[in-house]
Amino acid sequence: MINKKGAEKVLSVYWFAIIVLVATGIFIMVYNFYNYPYDVREIEANILLNNVADCVSRGGIINSEIFSGNFENDFFSICRLNFSAEETFEETQYYVSLNLSNASLIILDFEKGNKNLISSCGLEKDVEKNNLAKCVQREFYSVGSNSQSYLIKILTIVRKTEKNVN
């Protein structure tokens, strides 16, 4: 009888230990999952590209300010962009390159932001994908005031690896 009581006590301590173990496991699982940041760099690069595209061409018509000659210098104010990131980053975390051409004639070709980020583009297959900056490139046609079509190429890159990948 005494032996049975002792065994029950040992068993309840064991069950308590198992409950603590399972609870700790669940806590670690939830912590692991929610502690991992969302990687939104590709979406951020797409948003940046869409903003630049909207600035260059609205409703299929090219922004007339492009031909003013100051577009490159006033790019940030005209397109209402700001490349400053959180204080944790010392270097600029963004890059934009814009190329506008008509047939074979290049009308506008410039780049803004951190040029070192270009090296990340096209390397996705060789190096581990997540640690590289995300590149998005798209090109489209837009019409000028003279009804001529212009080809616009935009490349945007977002780094911010520390904030998006553990």
Binding site: L21, P37, F140
Partner: protein, 99 residues
């Protein structure tokens, strides 16, 4: 005495095995949760189906605003580029509205 001892040993082994299984399931689940976090928390435009594409819309509007070679260039690009929406369905919709 011997039978009792054997019974106790059997019971102990059962609990030890059960504990090992519980620990194994927990470790697997913890590892799986970190793997799921790594793969599911990468968000991109391809992660979900989209019907609208701003760049595509710009090109379609440009198509109707130009003519001749320009229109042919735009049509060629609409045929060959990959968009997040159906370019030709959108093009035909606008074309029908303009009729």
């Amino acid at each position: 005495m011997s039978i009792n001892k054997k019974g106790q040993l059997g019971e102990t082994i059962t609990w030890v095995v059960a504990t090992i299984i519980i620990i194994f399931v927990l470790i697997t689940s913890i590892y799986a949760s970190s793997l799921v976090a790594k793969s599911k928390k990468v968000l991109s435009y391809d992660s979900y189906e989209r019907e609208a594409d701003g760049i595509m819309t710009k090109m379609i509007l440009s198509y109707f605003l130009t003519n001749g070679n320009g229109q042919a260039d735009i049509l060629f690009k609409l045929q060959n580029d990959v968009f997040y929406g159906n370019a030709f369905a959108e093009l035909n919709k606008i074309r029908n509205n303009l009729k």
